[in-house]
């Protein structure tokens, strides 16, 4: 479990993003996850087994498109209903809030998820900008990927 007043710096294919650590319920190492043996047939890269549940985790590239690959180390699981949902990351680092100065911005155009935009601010660090995920938007986005997976599996069974 992470402390409340921290950010997670998440690396996705060479691009960094921030997430308030309060949105994450756990960060799991790759070795502690069940890897999907048939990634070509599925959106899901790995699961975390928790009692009778399996929490899915999705691997996204820098453009937040589904991707595949083995060059990742961890998964960040976000609090969501009916079960947590995970984002696979090439790397994850905890940053104290005092070290991070986030400025708000409103993404332009229609939100890409039913629960709003994916971002709500950015850390302006010198000439570099690092986007801050809006947890509700990110969860909704990942859940949409999960729904697509459910539809695909249902069709396969039919």
């Amino acid at each position: 479990m992470t402390e409340l007043d921290q950010y997670l710096r998440i690396g996705l294919w060479g691009v960094e993003y921030l997430l308030p650590s309060s949105a994450s319920i756990s960060i799991e190492q790759r070795d502690d996850l069940i890897l999907n043996d048939e990634p070509a047939d599925s959106n899901i890269t790995a699961w975390r087994a928790v009692e009778s549940e399996r929490w899915p985790a999705f691997y996204l590239n820098a453009e937040l498109e589904l991707t595949r690959g083995d060059d990742w180390q961890r998964a960040v699981f976000l609090e969501a209903r009916p079960h947590p949902i995970g984002l696979i990351a090439d790397e994850v680092e905890l940053l104290p809030r005092a070290d991070v100065h986030v400025e708000p911005f409103t993404p332009l155009g229609p939100p890409p998820t039913p629960r709003g935009h994916l971002f709500s601010g950015a850390w302006v660090r010198g000439n570099q900008l690092i986007l801050l995920f809006e947890p509700d938007g990110l969860i909704s986005y990942l859940q949409k990927l999960g729904e697509a997976e459910n539809i695909r599996q249902t069709r396969r069974i039919e």
Binding site: E63, F105, G109, N127
Partner: protein, 152 residues
Amino acid sequence: MKPPIQDRIHTMIVPLAGSYLLVPSALIAEVINIAGFIRVPRSEKWMLGLLNWRARPVPVVCFDFFLTSDLPPAGPRSKIVIFYPLPGRKPWDFFGVLTSGEPQPRTFSDAQALSNTVENDNPYAAVTVKLETFVASIPNLETLKATFYPDT
């Protein structure tokens, strides 16, 4: 007799790839050189990215897309015009517009000087006016606001 100073209209002529914008100077915070901006994943085509302006993240848009549906690339003389937040928006909601060249200040003696309008059916142009050798569109801020912030 010269019109009173307060009746003069201060504007900027903003060159786009295929047309011009005529923008009241009061809407513009600054004109800057193109700095690197980052892509914002899952955003609209016309949303070119986010730049660091005075330590703020500022979205940059391609206004050409609203007028012509084209997405011309930035050229060697391109600039970014930083607009103040639209009416009713949050104080940090500045936005940038990519230009094809350096915007030029232009002062009109009064509104009569802008009365030579041409037909316009583009919702992003409030009015299109004929100036000497070219036409320029005054942006429709209400349409822009509805496009930029459709959920509010």
